[in-house]
Symmetry: C2
Subunit: 107 residues, 2 copies
Amino acid sequence: MDIKSAVLQLSSIAQEARLEIFRLLVQAGQEGLSAGSIGETLHIPASTLSFHLKELSHAGLINSRQVSRFIYYSANYGAMNGLLAYLTENCCAGAKDCAPSSTYKPK
Amino acid sequence: MDIKSAVLQLSSIAQEARLEIFRLLVQAGQEGLSAGSIGETLHIPASTLSFHLKELSHAGLINSRQVSRFIYYSANYGAMNGLLAYLTENCCAGAKDCAPSSTYKPK
DNA sequence: ACTATATTTCTATATTTATGGAAATATAGA
DNA sequence: TCTATATTTCCATAAATATAGAAATATAGT
C-alpha cells in the first residue's frame, strides 16, 4: 500500500453520502446492492449517487457487476482490510497491546 | 460513533501530509513527538504543519501536551480503534469470516 | 422496432480545502 | 528584561470537490 492509494481510499469515504454508501455495502455482504436500491435506501438522486459510486470504485473500495439491467455494487473487503492495516502499521513501534480494545476481529 | 464524527476523522487523514503525520505518530507510541520534530522529519513548513495538526486535533485523532517550550503530539489510539470499528460494524450482516485476513490484531 | 426502466455523462454553480510567508504569540534561559 | 526558539494566527491565492437537473446511453421485455 502506498500513501497516495491510501489517501485516495480515505478521501472516498471521507464524505457523508459516500460513507453511508460504503457502510451499507459493508453490511450487505458479498452479494451487494443495485445502484437503484442504494439510492432509494439513502435518498440520493441518481446522478449524485452515480458520482459517488464512481469515486468509491475508482478508489478500489467497492466493486461492481452487471446483472441484467441492474448494476450491483459490493464492498471490496480485501481493500478495506488493506487500508485498516496500513493505518495501524507498526503501531507503537511494535509494542504489544499498545492500543485499547476494538470489536473487530479479522481472522 | 456518529457519522459526522467519522467523516471528520476520515477527512483529517484523507490528505497526504496529515496521513504521514498520523502514521508517524501511530508508530511513535504514547510519548509522541514535538511539532518541530514532526516538521523536520516530514519537511513541512511550520505554518502548514500547524494547520494540519489542528485539523487532526479537532477531529480527535491526536492529542497534545505542552512540555516546556515544545508541544508534543501523540496518536489517540482509542479514537483510531473507534473509527476502525465503525467502518467494519456489522460487517457482512454478521456472517463470520466474511473478510480476508488483516495483520492488525487488537486485543 | 418500440417502450419502460436503470444508470451514467454533461454542465454550471456553490462550497470547501490547502499552501506558506509574514507577523504575532508563547516559553524559558541568560 | 533581553534574546532565542517554538508554535500559532492571519491572510490571500490556488485548487479540488459536491450538487443535481437535463440529456444521453444501455438493457431487456413486448
